[in-house]
């Protein structure tokens, strides 16, 4: 770390480098693109975790969180502009492919225009939406943006701002060529796993281009969090990726506890990890089921849901709910474990291998299934990193990106489990990685089930929780990939800004890239194998 700090200070004397929660570099917009290039090429900061849009009242800006896929170091870069009327920053979409999507998100929420971004449209909100909702001075008057049953307005043009002779000019670009046959898939479509919309240009059965439309379930969670106290924000984590409810809760609790300096008991840590792994198994089981259903093998769904129901039973006994648990809380967990928790988990571990064997027998070995998955939707390792495709999908491309290994949190560093990776990067690899991950999670559960230490399940925390002013960053492993959280606190009981960087956004962002030239049926295969959850990407 110190090494980077010195080198950056030498190369960019005007940059301010400080070691806070994360190593943070503050730099001018004019030099930002150069610094980005240096960081990516010389310090192998090739994974852009997220771009946090910020409104500091007197200025607008972005915080770029970068991670190296070699050294696993994280650094943050702060870039800002004081122009609130027409804020502009330079785009880094040419360095990290995923930046294009992230910058659109920032533009949507803060109105910051990125010079050089090829596709500067709103991401979640309608094109005629008035105002930028995450700005502090946003007018929430419902009369400005009424709920309308009028058809959504849509344009076939996209904007891009380019620098010509020192002046920034706006250019309009056609999204689709005039001769393209565009099929609209979604938002109400059985295969999009929720309300995602693909405008698909096809040539016969072959896909030429996909334009992804999101925001059909954008609920403005980040804005809502700013008006709630810290413990209240937790329950939204259940409703993002509802399969990783425990994992997301865990992440946010870790962030708050670290920021507030709360130590939790070992018992609570073990319980949290066990719940995380149980939900991972349940989530992957449902993935296998829905994926097979997308491919036409409906029956598999019913077999995988059997295991999921068993896990839900275990959780229900302890947490009291089937889906939105709200179980992890600041300081530990809400309730102690149910008396027969250990026994139930053991029963689950006993039936799991049998079930996995059955899934393999019915589906994995099937010649049709293999032909449909093998070699379909290949994502290379470089692209996976550049598109920030994490989780099982990234690991299937050979990128070891499991945050439980890279940035061990809670008690993961003490546990014995393998990070499952594959090299093929196709749909089959993504499917198999998840199957194997079920076994790894079972391994973790087996290690912990007999070793749940005694102790309190929740430590005492102040009734009114205040977090010292500052910036905090936390990254954990959800069921679908790296789940990053950024908190800026101004010392009050409510977050000044809570940025949620979900894994599914990038999963949807890569769809266009890997479906080019494949068949319509492959879109279903690829979309299914990426396993995105739409409420997670839209928030």
């Amino acid at each position: 770390m110190a090494n980077i700090q010195e080198k950056i200070a030498k190369l960019y004397p005007e940059a301010v480098v400080e070691q806070a929660d994360t190593l943070t570099i503050t730099i001018d917009d004019a030099r930002w693109h150069n610094l980005a290039q240096t960081l990516r090429d010389d310090f192998s900061m090739d994974y852009l975790v997220t771009i946090v849009g910020m409104d500091w009242k007197e200025s607008l800006g972005c915080i770029y969180y970068l991670m190296s896929s070699k050294t696993n170091e994280i650094i943050a870069v702060k870039v800002s502009t004081t122009d609130r009327e027409r804020p502009m920053l330079h785009s880094v979409a040419d360095l990290w492919r995923v930046a294009c999507l992230y910058e659109r998100e920032v533009y949507d929420f803060f109105g910051i225009i990125f010079i050089g971004n090829p596709d500067m449209r709103r991401l979640f909100l309608n094109i005629d939406w008035k105002g930028y909702p995450l700005r502090k001075d946003y007018d929430e008057d419902p009369a400005l943006n009424p709920v309308s049953i009028e058809n959504e307005r849509q344009s076939d043009l996209t904007d891009t701002w380019v620098e010509e002779n020192g002046k920034v000019v706006k250019k309009e670009v056609q999204v689709f060529a005039p001769e393209d046959f565009v099929v609209n898939i979604g938002p109400q479509h059985p295969a999009t796993h929720g309300v995602l919309r693909f405008r698909t240009a096809v040539d016969g059965e072959e896909i030429k281009k996909i334009d992804v439309y999101m925001g059909y379930i954008h609920r403005g969670v980040e804005k809502l969090c700013e008006s709630l106290t810290y413990p209240q924000t937790l329950h939204y984590m259940d409703r993002l990726d509802y399969f990783s409810a425990h994992n997301y809760h865990h992440g946010l609790c870790l962030l708050f506890e670290r920021a507030a300096g709360i130590e939790i008991s070992r018992r609570a840590q073990v319980i949290r990890v066990m719940m995380d792994e149980l939900s991972r198994i349940a989530s992957h089981c449902l993935f296998i089921g829905t994926y097979c259903m997308d491919l036409g093998a409906t029956t598999m769904l019913f077999y995988t849901l059997r295991v999921r129901e068993q896990i839900l039973d275990i959780m229900e006994k302890t947490c009291g709910a089937r889906m939105t648990f709200n179980y992890d809380c600041i300081g530990g967990v809400m309730q102690d474990l149910a008396p027969d928790f250990v026994q139930d988990v053991k029963a689950l571990l006993a039936v799991l291998p049998e079930n996995i064997k059955e899934y393999n027998k019915i589906f994995t070995g099937n010649v049709i299934a293999r032909k449909r998955m093998e070699g379909v939707g290949v994502l290379t390792r470089e692209d996976a990193i550049s598109y920030a495709v994490t989780g099982p999908s990234g690991r299937a491309s050979g990128w070891a990106c499991d945050m439980r290994k890279l940035k061990p949190y809670s008690i993961y560093s003490e546990l014995d489990f393998n990070e499952v990776t594959a090299t093929e990067g196709d749909s089959m690899a993504r499917f198999k990685v998840r199957l194997l991950e079920i076994e790894e999670s079972a391994k973790i559960l087996a290690q912990l089930v007999d070793n749940i230490p005694e102790g309190e399940y929740c430590v005492k925390v102040p009734k009114v929780l205040k977090i010292p002013a500052g910036q905090y960053f936390e990254i954990v492993e959800g069921c679908r990939g790296a789940f990053a959280l950024y908190l800026e606190s101004d010392g009050t009981t409510k977050p000044y800004r809570l940025k949620i960087a979900p894994p599914c956004l990038t999963l949807a962002g890569v769809v266009d890239h890997i479906t080019r030239g494949t068949k319509i049926a492959d879109l279903i295969t690829i979309g299914g194998s990426l396993d995105y959850i739409v409420p997670d990407m839209d928030r």
Binding site: I149, E150, Y216, H218, Y242, T324, P535
Partner: protein
């Protein structure tokens, strides 16, 4: 007249007042024997064959999947024929949050359903906006967009609650008249006239 479904006694239902009100309306309007009997036959068919539209936006949709699975098995009641095309479905289970951008799509889906059509608002988001009520981009309940027949509270409702909700719908269908008279369609028409869709150009 006690309206109930198989294997559930009349007393076990929670809100019988509503059904009784419908029954009274039916009695007051009166009808001739042949039409009445024909109505009964048709309503027997309609109430026992409710096909859902596969429509889910968030968490509740996953519980709807569980509803179809072996444990809760909605096929027992004949609801498992989930149609992906709105033209062929009978009712729409609005499972999940409806946000501003989704509203036109949702309304269009409703308009595409073939008559007679029903809507179940499933989960607190669909009923009122739920935990996201204060958000800038969430519709505060779907009641302002389409007429709703049954509300199923919960976040998300358990599959048992969903079964109960659809059974309530089935009871409601049973006491409606298909031919004239106490006709739901007229009320629905009123609603739709007060919520017109403009800006549709086709």
């Amino acid at each position: 007249m006690e309206v109930t479904t198989k294997s559930m006694p009349y007393e076990a239902w929670k809100d019988n007042e509503y059904i009784e009100k419908l029954v009274n309306e039916l009695k007051e309007s009166g009808t001739n024997v042949i039409v009445g009997q024909l109505d009964k036959l048709i309503n027997w068919g309609r109430s026992n064959s409710l096909w859902p539209l596969t429509f889910a936006t968030s968490c509740c949709g996953i519980e709807f999947v569980s509803l179809g699975a072996a444990r809760f098995d909605m096929a027992r009641f004949g609801w498992e024929v989930a149609r992906a095309s709105p033209r062929q479905a009978d009712f729409m289970m609005v499972a999940g949050t409806i946000v501003n951008r989704m509203v036109p799509v949702f309304r269009r889906l409703y308009d595409q359903l073939a008559e007679p059509k029903y809507v179940i608002a499933c989960g607190s988001c669909a009923i009122s906006g739920g935990p996201f009520r204060k958000s800038y981009h969430v519709a505060k309940g779907i009641e302002d967009i389409v007429p709703v027949d049954v509300f199923v509270p919960g976040c998300p409702p358990r599959p048992e609650a969903m079964i109960y909700g659809i059974m309530q719908l089935s009871r409601k269908v049973k006491v409606e008249k298909f031919f004239g008279g106490v006709n739901r369609q007229e009320k629905q028409q009123e609603f739709l006239e007060s919520h017109p869709v403009s800006g549709v150009n086709d």
